[in-house]
């Protein structure tokens, strides 16, 4: 079997569901003949027709809004936003309607839509092309927020997102769209949307990260392993609803934790994870949970992008000081 990249796995999942379910339709800007600006929908219009893989006029509010109408009338729309930075015009429909249709009508109508967007920085793109505002969506009741971090998880989680009876915001870490290749059998098997993935076992410290930030996080875990420190690495993947219990389980072993994300720190999802650790695992904690995140400023234009993003150096520093807590009291 050929090895495929994350973005190819997205394509494979979309193709699978288009083939399996006539209610599935794809739409967005440039997803047809052009195959999407990242080629996530490459070849799909040719295979499934322009009725089912449609270019839209240039209006994200419209994309978000018509998806609601399509979904409540029995389709399974999968809408692509070209970049996460261009979702904002569509937020109103996502927050005020997609997230609420089932609740508002007491289950009479529902809104099984998937809003896909490439997200995160690191590809030297212009302004607005490097957003990581998953926390905004994660705050909204009624949504699911899913971030894959490998080709296999992209495939399985996207299948699950499309089949899910409720709206899902599916954020694809574009920095690792082509970072690794993996064999991903096109077997139509979905992955669960209600639990974390443990990417590495360890008992010294728990590292929580998602999306592209896992790349550096796993590298750090390797570095630590060379020193005999075993980090457990957890990818929540589904950020909302969050499976906190898998994280707590890990803390039972480690008592120490660092959370890594690209998004700005203040009111980012790291905060929620720390809050729940505080609530559920207060007595387990041997050190304050640290966050390694994007800075609380606008993602700079690309010359300074690498200074903004969490790198292995910053993660390592945080891990070491967490392990050495209390300072001087060392392990």
């Amino acid at each position: 079997m050929a090895e495929i990249t994350l973005v190819e796995a997205v394509n494979q999942a979309l193709a699978h569901e288009l083939g399996a379910d006539p209610r599935v339709i794809l739409f967005g800007q440039d997803i047809g003949a052009n195959g999407g600006v990242f080629r996530a929908t490459d070849g799909l219009q040719k295979r499934f027709g322009a009725e089912r893989v449609r270019d839209t006029p240039l209006a994200e509010n419209m994309i978000a809004g018509i998806a609601v109408g399509m979904a409540v009338q029995g389709l399974r729309p999968v809408a692509e936003f070209q970049f996460m930075g261009f979702i904002y015009p569509g937020l109103d429909h996502i927050l005020s309607h997609a997230a609420r249709y089932r609740n508002r009508t007491r289950g009479r109508l529902s809104c099984p839509v998937v809003y896909r967007a490439p997200y995160g920085g690191g590809i030297h793109a212009p302004e607005h092309h490097s957003e990581s505002t998953e926390a905004i969506f994660a705050h909204i009741p009624g949504l699911r927020v899913v971030v894959p971090s490998s080709p296999a998880r992209a495939y399985g989680l996207l299948l699950a997102a499309i089949r899910d009876p409720d709206p899902v915001v599916f954020l694809e870490p574009k920095r690792i769209y082509r970072a690794v290749r993996q064999e991903v059998p096109d077997n139509g098997e979905a992955l669960p949307l209600d639990r974390c993935f443990r990417l590495r076992e360890g008992s010294d410290i728990t590292l929580v990260a998602w999306g592209a930030a896992l790349k550096e996080t796993l590298q750090v875990a390797e570095t630590l392993a060379e020193e005999g420190i075993e980090a457990e690495v957890i990818d929540p993947a589904t950020l909302k609803p969050l499976d906190i219990h898998s994280i707590i389980d890990s803390l039972e072993k480690t008592g120490r934790c660092v959370v890594v994300h690209e998004a700005a720190r203040f009111a980012g999802l790291g905060a929620e994870i720390i809050a729940q650790i505080n609530e559920y695992a207060f007595d387990l904690l041997k050190a304050p949970v640290q966050r390694v995140t994007g800075y609380d400023t606008v993602m700079p234009y690309y010359r300074l992008e690498d200074e903004y993003l969490p790198d292995t150096g910053r993660i390592l520093t945080a891990v070491r000081s967490t392990l050495d807590y209390p300072p001087g009291g060392g392990r």
């Binding site: 109408g69 508002r104 007491r106």
Partner: protein, 370 residues
């Protein structure tokens, strides 16, 4: 300055439709569809809408209902729209919609429940496909475009019968991007959707003239390359004919239309509003003379289709219906607190179980102590 020579590349006309003038006289021959039966039924339904409105406002005044938006003076629009649709079509309402909802089979007690702070009212028992009332201005227009796409797709890809989406909004709503984006998409995708604008001259306190410099609302269709028509919105026959025509065209694959129905809001914006702060009384007075009920009533009487007997019979019947609905509304037991989680997701996620149980515990504690 020397005037340049310009080449015309496109030209457009916007038209107005009326059958019954302000005095209830036919200003042109009525369409064949305007049978005595239909006209009587439109009259009845307008009357019922007005009755429900009146009682709802009373309920609000006595603390039995939340904020309520009456449609006094605009009943012709909702009733005509509802009446012009086929049952299997999909209605995408805004919030000032009592007449249309009643035509669509939504129960009076459902309407009251919605404004009475109970989501269960949106779970229409007899209009299962219609969208719930929509509060954020103009958003329903995009939902309607999406619905229309789904209907078109299901017809073409899944061999289902042709259906149409119909949606309403106010004049204020036409200033919002959603309006234009919906029209534009409907045009370029040739969607089976009819947009009806209740131009009641006000968006709360903002006058029609302060919303837009365009001479008519109907001409906004030109921007999207779709049909636009202005109708006398106090003439239920004109509204119904225009909407029915547009629905038929949409059903036949001829694309969308925008219909501007000219009327006037003869009431406060909602029960939370006080229109005397901004609405010139003369203007209101003049508008009253053009309202739709008397106009149709006097036509019906002139034609011998209606008389005092029919009128009092109708009033009696509708009063009864209203009374039963009020009873039903008042006697409905409240939803338990946990109901706020029951339909958030298809299945309650594990992550929410604790919160659910907290509410459950509070509820039983409350019931025991209460």
């Amino acid at each position: 300055m020397h005037k340049p020579r310009l080449h015309p590349v496109a030209s457009f006309d916007i038209n107005h439709l009326q059958y019954l003038d302000e005095r209830g006289q036919a200003s042109q021959a009525l369409p064949d569809s305007a049978t005595p039966d239909l006209l009587q039924s439109l009259y009845r339904q307008m009357n019922l809408a007005r009755l429900v409105d009146q009682r709802a406002v009373q309920l609000q005044r006595t603390g039995q209902l939340g904020t309520y938006p009456s449609s006094l003076g605009q009943e012709a629009i909702g009733v005509a729209v509802g009446s012009a649709m086929a049952t299997e079509d999909v209605y995408c309402p805004y919030y000032r919609e009592t007449g249309a909802l009643l035509e669509r089979g939504v129960e009076i007690e459902e309407i009251l429940a919605i404004w009475g702070g109970d989501e269960r009212g949106q779970n229409y028992q007899h209009a299962p496909q219609d969208l719930p009332l929509c509060v954020p201005i103009a958003t329903q227009l995009l939902h309607a475009a999406g619905v229309a796409f789904a209907l078109q797709y299901r017809q073409q890809q899944m061999n289902e019968p042709a259906r149409v989406a119909v949606t309403c909004a106010g004049d204020g709503a036409t200033s919002k991007g959603d309006f234009y984006e919906a029209l534009n998409l409907a045009g370029v995708w040739k969607l089976p959707v009819v947009f009806v604008i209740n131009n009641n001259q006000w968006a709360i306190s903002v006058s029609r003239g302060a919303q837009t410099a365009s001479r008519t609302i109907a001409q906004k269709a030109i921007a999207a390359g779709i049909q636009g028509l202005q109708v006398d919105g106090n003439d239920v026959i004109a509204v119904r004919t225009a909407v029915a025509d547009a629905v038929e065209r949409a059903r036949n694959g001829e694309g969308p239309a925008l219909i501007e129905a000219l009327t006037y809001r003869l009431c406060d914006h909602t029960t939370a509003d006080d229109a005397s702060r901004y609405c010139p009384p003369e203007e209101l007075e003049q508008a009253r003379a053009r309202e739709p009920m008397e106009r149709l009533g006097s036509y019906l009487r002139d034609q011998g289709y209606w008389d005092d007997g029919a009128e009092s019979e109708m009033q009696r019947e509708q009063a009864e219906v209203m009374e039963r609905s009020l009873q039903a509304y008042r006697s409905k037991s409240p939803a338990p607190p946990t109901a706020m989680f029951d339909h958030l997701y298809a299945r309650l996620p594990e992550a929410l179980l604790e919160q659910y149980q907290e509410l459950q515990a509070r509820d039983s504690a409350g019931q025991e102590s209460g």
